[in-house]
């Protein structure tokens, strides 16, 4: 995959919907697969990427694994 195909659609409304969804994901702490793909394409082009399923499984395991308790 290339970075171009992953870029958010550029026409007004769709792009805005995309942004809102991305913001919501980040605020609620939902793993952002699209952002991961964009990162992989930009930083490590050519290397294999995780599938959506594997990425999600790993992200959840890390989030609730050893690191960090949450608040009262």
């Amino acid at each position: 995959m290339t970075a171009q195909t992953l870029a958010p659609p550029r026409n007004g409304l769709l792009s805005r919907v995309h942004n809102v969804r991305q913001v919501c994901r980040q605020v609620f702490g939902i793993p952002d697969y699209e952002a991961y793909l964009a990162h992989a394409a930009a930083r490590h082009p050519g290397l294999p990427v995780l599938s959506r399923r594997d990425f999600f499984a790993q992200a959840i395991d890390r989030k609730y694994g050893k690191n960090g308790p949450r608040c009262c």
């Binding site: 969804r21 913001v23 919501c24 994901r25 980040q26 605020v27 609620f28 702490g29 939902i30 793993p31 697969y33 952002a35 991961y36 964009a38 990162h39 992989a40 930009a42 930083r43 490590h44 599938s51 959506r52 399923r53 990425f55 999600f56 499984a57 790993q58 992200a59 959840i60 395991d61 890390r62 989030k63 609730y64 694994g65 050893k66 690191n67 960090g68 308790p69 949450r70 608040c71 009262c72």
Partner: protein, 687 residues
Amino acid sequence: MNNLMSIALWPLVAIVGAFSFAALALGRGESVGAVWLVTAAVCTYFIAYRFYGKFIADKVLRLDDTRVTPAERHNDGMDYVPTNKYVLYGHHFAAIAGAGPLVGPVLAAQMGFLPGTLWILVGVVLAGAVQDFIVLFASVRRDGKSLGEMIKMELGPIPGSIAMVGILAIMIIILAVLSLVVVKALADSPWGLFTIAATIPIALIMGVYMRFIRPGRVGEASIIGVVLLMAALLYGQSIANDPVWGPAFTWHGTHLAWAIIIYGAIASSLPVWLMLAPRDYLSTFLKIGTIVALAFGIYYVAPQLAMPATTRFIDGSGPVFSGALFPFLFITIACGAVSGFHALISSGTTPKMVEKESHMRLIGFGGMLTESFVAIMALTAASVLDPGIYFAMNAPSAIIGTTASNAAQVISSWGFTITPDVLTQTAKDIGESSILSRTGGAPTLAVGMAQILGQAVGGKSMEAFWYHFAILFEALFILTAVDAGTRVGRFMIQDMLGHLYKPMGNTEFLPANIVGTGLCVVLWGYFLYQGVIDPLGGINTLWQLFGVGNQMLAGIALLLCTSVLVKMKRERYVWVTLVPTVWLLITTLTAGAQKIFSSDPRIGFVALARKFSTAAAEGKVLAPAKSIEEMQRVAFNNYLDAVVCGFFVLLVLAMCFYTFKICRQAWRQAQPTAQEIPPMAPQGAMA
């Protein structure tokens, strides 16, 4: 232009704030609008953020955007992700906001709305927001290290180990007290219990959906979850009225306590994708949605504060919790003013996502101000209620009895006139059999919210729905916290046991996992069960134990912040952390000493234990214990509470000693000795 705006704007905010405070202060003898209270708080937050927060950012910490943050240094697209500052602020807020800021202020409302309000506002600006901000700063400058690791780095290995044991002890007490809040809210409430029970299969469905049916589609699964949840909430009323299912879902406190203990053990052993993750998403949506709805509701409905500014119970004779305003107000309201637990979040995932150092003012300082706003709204919701209803819900049955007429008589004798009819009618309005002695704060907040939201949407007929919605919202994220907390507790226990016997530290080793989980559940389960059968209702004991522990942790975090400032050679600003540290030490050590040594059995653990063991020795049975055996158990539990409390006190004294030693050494050095990651120029692509 910006300057002109600023010159016009800030005096305006100050004037609006001052006017709101004046409305609160001068409205003696007549009721005051809740809007004034909320507005006064909001203006305080803006002024504090603009001036004090900026002062700390620019002068004390000297945030430097040319430094590389851990998110940029390790950017892996997964854990370390440079994140937009407003998004990270939202994320951080969602992580710190829990049941704490909702329960504490409700309990403290027994002293009137003013003492709680003032402590929340002064406490958050001078202590809570400062702590969250500086701990976040320290962690970002140390590659995202956790609180325990930072204490080890800056203060040494022994204080590091002491802090880790302390953190575990506080976790155990938090899990126990939060579970107790749920037990108190769901006992004898078939509608509430049904909806909470329904969240288990709903979470399982969501988990399977996100894992197998549409992998990673959290949004879709969450919509399914929310729809099912609302259906369960609506259907709950029919269940409660059903002749068969109604009684089946009517459980007593002790049975519920066992259920939650077993639930905690099983839920924390399941794979995280199956239940914890979906439930966490669900509870985060509800949490943020409800908090926003409540804020709009207060402004839209503009209710009057029915609770007086101060009540006679500031002398310590209150039925909700015993102990005078000083020091117990400052223990009861922990989260919302200052919460040690936030130091763990601020040194958890958030520092790994900070894009630029200057963002930390909004995320750390601003995030805590927002949490404080939640506490103010909880206090408002409790103060909007008729004080008679408030005390009927929060006084234990040992004081007000178990019938509406008896309760009305006792409460009216305190000067809060109420009739038995109002008590029974209120119970009917919210769809419960009784509102008497529904302690723990959650039901009170739920009734307050139901009255506010009911006036906004749906009127009287919707109050029962809103009440159970509020209970669902609180219980859901408490149970998520129980699940997640038990896991973290297990890791901590395994980590410690691993030092004694190596295989115990292996988190992939099943027997070690079972021992770790079992120990953790037994520990908090013991305190929970003891709280359920406690003669004074449990909250009276456990919430204060939690408050002491949480504020002690805040004291430890602020001691670390102080040592960081001294080691950075910013001694002239050391008062920024030293003043709140000293205040926390004074209040918690006084409260700790009173909880142990007070001769008043309503306050002192040892005095209450003596009272019960002496009576038991004479063969007398004191209510609500029913046998000599139960009497002895009450006595033993109170001795145990005294030991835990004493442990917290010794812990914080030891930390004081080590911090003082380190600070004195650093003070004499001419050069900064803080162990920060050295600054380097931001780099583009890094593996």
